[in-house]
Symmetry: C2
Subunit: 444 residues, 2 copies
């Protein structure tokens, strides 16, 4: 009776699925065997870590490399893989393994998870995603493993390769280098830089784009969405690099002491990591306030849709820019690359940015009151959580219980997506039959 | 030949008119007689002050009450009146006085200036604006004059009444109390608080709303725009009051030492002044960083369209919220109070907020590098300039030459309106005849 009346929307199924994963992770990470010392993590910190892993955020209250046992680290790695690859893809895998047919309901859920446009070809897409992910992560794990082996021996090196490969492709930002210094020991290491960046940039493009690249080959034949994502990603990488390079050029705590050429790689990495990867090769806390603000804006925009990355998404911001251009030109149709973008896509993009601004603004004001921290550090932390970035000026472990609780909620909201959450809470497709008469209001 | 080919748009006429007013003001304020000491103001500071007055911003590099002679203060007062009442309304007045008929071109310019919807009734509206403004400012000047007379004598008191009445109704935020302390000596003065607030809130509603109130009487009969403005203004006043009251409750440098009841008036004033009035009864530099951020968000939203206030405007933000609500409900029509808001109004609102965010973000990052000031103070200053607010943590006079130049440009852009500027620069009504095929991109 109840089950017939209650028809959960795809978005609602997504939200509940993520919550179950987080709960499972919290229990496992609270166990004494998850801790290196045997002293178990507090339930709140376990919840924080599990949420951060499932939401591929990367904010940490304890250092992943030193606090957790191998068991704890493997749990985190699996949570990242499940959260990053998408638990819906996982669900599809289970369906396939069990040999069951996918129902229309099941397809709709996957469609929501991947933010895909058509229902057709979803099973094929899911298979492609998993195969591609495993190949990419496997190759990268091997390269990283060989590199790390030089420092820590073969077995430990390969283990580190697997962990960082999964963490990077999933844009999770968790590292097990230890000492809470992130990837700073590898700041000038070409192999680690290029492999890690390659993984998180590729993962941040979104599955549909990756599959489009894989199946179409030439850019000309790709879908509008794929071309737009590649263009925007290139622009944001260049803007990020130039911004960091210029803003930190003279900062003695970051790039100041390096030669012109030496500055290039850390500047590019720091700009690129705002695509919500969350790894850092220079100390985030040493960056200048203006640089943090610059990164914060890029972090808010984030990666591309249906990807392992977060933020409001490159295309969301891109569509709004295209709409602004249309208005400036005096037209009311939003055209991009000789194609017209539908009205409701623009409205959806608008909703995402407005909800994002409200969430980030409100939470920042509240936490600036409750946390005894510099305003900019709080602001940065909130955007980092919302964009599932994981960069921090170092205040995460110093947050109050209230602050940790709020950041947990923001990480979750940031990953599930403001709009998906809004759709899950609201009633969808309840389109009113009434068409009201038009009346203008003045804006601007 | 040239004059036939070059058809300036209404927006371009507006921009040029404002520039001429600023230039005139700069020359007058550079004269030795404009200075109380006879030592003339530097050209840059004169330009800064003239821009601040014409754009009714209120940021000052020298204290208006002590640096300027009565001549200088009267120049500023006239620049404020011209900029606030709108130089286009002034132009209309000149037309009327000269007995000339208003051409269609002239009407279009006025329409742009007031952001009005129809061409009809513009002359009547302009007359109403001027008469209403003079009555309101006159009555308020008298009340304020009597109050100030108690402190400084009759003649000086009435003069101060006129200056502050014009400055308040125009949302200019200039004061001649002296000593660079704003209206802090009148923090607990009921008359000064209510009259000043009444003036700037009323002025910030926008001329069309004021005329609508004046001619229709009942709220029910008013235009959708007027009802929306009144609703949003009420909401922002309540939110502003509650925010300041809560955030500053314990701050010993602002509300902390006051009793619960005593906190109410300064909290309300500080919340209301973010409607881009720019007056302050408590020291802005003593507010907590979180409070500054809260005020900064309200300042960015600002007052209502076609008003003396600035910001992206209450209705711009309001329309976007309504659009977000529509998307959450699953529809694609943006309905408000049983009326449908046209697509292009939503797009226009979207453009204004996106351009505003880009301008504020970019300028803040640049100035955070060039100015040797705390990041939050720079951020606050930029939003204050863009929203033509005039509140400052006290860094205005300490800005570098480059910083002052940039703030001048931002004040101008903030007043002329990002969109008007964009329209003035771009080619309008150049609608393409080509209708491209529709293709979706993923957002969010
Ligand atoms: K991340
Ligand atoms: K002002």
């Amino acid at each position: 009776m109840f089950s017939e009346k209650f028809q959960p929307s795809p978005a609602q199924v997504l939200v509940v699925g993520f919550l179950i994963l987080i709960l499972l992770g919290t229990i496992l990470l609270s166990l004494p065997i998850a801790s290196a010392s045997g002293e178990p993590l507090s339930p709140l910190d376990a919840l924080f870590t599990a949420t951060s892993a499932v939401c591929v955020t990367g904010l940490v209250v304890v250092d992943t490399g030193t606090f957790f046992s191998t068991f704890g680290q493997v749990v985190i790695m699996l949570l990242i893989q499940a959260g990053g690859l998408g638990f819906m893809t996982m669900a599809t895998l289970i369906f396939l393994v069990l040999g069951k047919k996918i129902t229309l309901k099941g397809r709709l859920v996957i469609q929501e998870a991947l933010n895909q446009i058509t229902l057709s070809g979803l099973v094929r897409l899911t298979k492609s995603i998993i195969i591609l992910t495993l190949i990419i992560e496997g190759v990268a794990a091997l390269i990283l493993g060989i590199r790390f082996s030089q420092d820590v021996g073969l077995l430990r090196g390969l283990y580190m390769g697997v962990f960082h490969s999964i963490s990077a492709f999933s844009n999770a930002g968790f590292d097990i280098v230890g000492g809470g210094v992130g990837l700073t020991p590898y700041r000038d290491d070409f192999v680690v830089n290029t492999v890690i960046m390659g993984l998180f940039i590729f993962g941040g493009l979104g599955f549909t784009v990756i599959v489009d690249i894989y199946t179409r080959g030439s850019i000309k034949k790709m879908a509008l969405h794929s071309k737009f994502v590649l263009l925007l990603t290139a622009i944001f990488l260049v803007v990020g690099f130039l911004g960091i390079f210029i803003l930190e050029y003279d900062n003695p705590a970051t790039l100041g002491e390096l030669s012109f050429v030496e500055k290039i790689m850390p500047a590019f990495f720091t700009g690129a990591t705002t695509r919500t990867a969350g790894f850092n090769t220079i100390d985030t806390g040493s960056l200048e306030a203006g640089t943090l603000f610059f990164m914060l804006l890029l972090m808010f925009i984030g990666a591309s849709p249906a990807s392992t990355g977060g933020g409001i998404k490159t295309t969301t911001f891109g569509v709004l820019l295209v709409a602004v251009y249309a208005i400036i030109k005096g037209g009311d149709e939003v055209n991009l690359m000789n194609r017209r973008i539908p009205y409701h896509i623009v409205l959806k993009g608008l909703s995402i940015i407005v909800i994002g601004l409200i969430v980030v603004g409100t939470v920042t004001i509240v936490l600036s009151q409750t946390e005894n921290q510099e305003f900019m550090n709080v602001f940065f932390e909130v955007v980092s959580a919302f964009g599932t970035v994981g960069l921090s000026t170092g205040i995460t472990s110093e947050l109050t219980t209230f602050g940790k609780g709020i950041i947990i909620v923001v990480m979750f909201m940031g990953r599930v997506g403001p709009l998906t959450l809004a759709l899950a809470l609201g009633r969808r497709y309840s389109k009113s039959k009434i068409r009201y008469p038009e009346e203008r209001v003045l804006v601007g």
